[in-house]
Amino acid sequence: MSYVPIKRPKFSLLDKIYVVELVKGLIITFKHLALSLMGKSRSKKDFNGKGVGACMPFPEQRWDSRLPEYYRGAPTLVRGEDGRERCVSCQLCEFICPARAIKVTPGAVAEGSGLEKQEKAPAEFEIDMLRCIYCGMCQEVCPEQAIFLSKEYLITLTDRKQAIRNKATLYKLGGTRKGLVNKWNQYK
């Protein structure tokens, strides 16, 4: 036989009459109701709950401090320890982005800045937060360790134009990141 028939449980007559089981169920739900009304719901402490039920009242209380290390929030651009803007505008993130949220306008590196080796730098770098799906592919594909997903998850807008984050904003959000490979060291 290619299939295994599911074994149904045998019900006694009492189970089949259903009234007793119904009452049992009602008692269980009533326990939950009473406990949450008294503010003693189970696993309330785990959720850092307050007041009625086990829930955490969101805008007042937040989960931020417990966000895991691997949390994927809004993507940002980072600077290295030396303060260098790490993006070299290779546009790999733009090509990999499944939602087409990223738009990179390549530009030249300013002469005499000491970064001539990297040849290019983005003139403009835009991420449309309405398109972004927080998949983290940009971070994975980036050969320069320039784009990282932050833990920012509350992105509230009143206008579509506000959703587009430009280069300056992205670098400001990303800040500096330590312990990255310094690939374009001029002494190498």
């Binding site: 119904l22 939950h32 109701l33 949450s36 009625v52 007042e60």
Partner: protein, 420 residues
Amino acid sequence: MNTIIQWCDSVLSNEIWFYLLTTVIKLVLIFAVILAFVVLSVWIERRVAGWIQDRPGPNRAGIPLFLLKRFGSKEKQPLKNVLHFFGIPENSWIANLCKWLRLEGEIPTFGLMQPCLDGGKLFLKQELTPSYVRKVYFTIAPMLVLGPPMVAAAVIPFASTVSTCYGEISMCVANLGIGPLWIFAISGLSVYGLSLAGWSSNSKYPFLGGLRASAQLISYEVAMGLSVIPLLMMFGTLNLQDIVQYQADNGWTLLPFWGEGLTLQRWALYAPIAISFIIFVTCVFAEANRTPFDMAECETDLVGGYHTEYSSMKFASFFMGEYAAMVVGSALVVTLFFGGWSIGFGADAALAAWCDWVAVLCQFLMFLIKLVAFIFFFVWVRWTLPRFRWDQVMKLGWLVFLEVAIANIFLAAAIMYFIK
């Protein structure tokens, strides 16, 4: 001034005018009560659902921004500000009660404004009528759902009789001799609303929903009608006002602790009455299209059921119709099994002997309390039981309830014949 009083006097002395005026007042009252309870039951539904699932439920709505500014924001202990605003001292019993209710950190409205805001939102939503529907029936259907429960409520007594100098007022819009029959007949009409909605939508899921609704409502109507017959045999009347009066004198149907309720026959009748109660309540669930029996709008297999194509206030009237049916259904259960407006333990007669109007007021409040309790029961069951499968619903209706209800009639008759 005197002429006005005289004119009122002459108008009220006229029997027809007296009857008309009192009926209109009662009509407005019962209408208001039902609509208020529709709103209230939406709130109860959402709050109780929340509590059962360890959530607070809707507790944010209801503080307009200008009030927030006035009382200070949430972090600044709004309760303190609210108490101060009304001039209530902080160690009074009201303040202690609020603290006991855990209102300190929260905005003390209990989310009661939520249903009103939901209603407002539904009014403001886009009214979309698909081009492929049959417009006339599509428009009539929501009315046919909302109307019947309102009409059916007419025979439900909400207090006893009051005697004034112009004549007696029975606190029941229409004191008909066919009370339960009227409710069954009228609530049966709501089938038309559901099946018309399903059919006129001209789309397959609503159509299936309409079919299911009509099949389910008709099947459960049969068992529902048969299940109350033992009760009617005991009461010996179909007039709901008389039924409640009987229960006030002789013990509620399910709590026969005084009057004739203490006789052997009455306690022997308890078994068939308990069976009737279970069948009747289940059928009321099915009639009101409530979970575990909401096959007509079963999202998992029918998208939205018969109201898939509806939007805005038309959808809201389906919603309100469902809740109105629930309110009327619970009112009927309360009337038949829990003594309607009766306060119980002989308190009705004592109060009525003291003052008619006070008695009526207390009875009305008692009726409302019982109604709220039963609506809570409806909600409680909804958030406990999963939905039945369609074939299980039909099987339960036709193969179990119908037979048990018929056997129950014979059982009750035998008990009434042999045990005196």
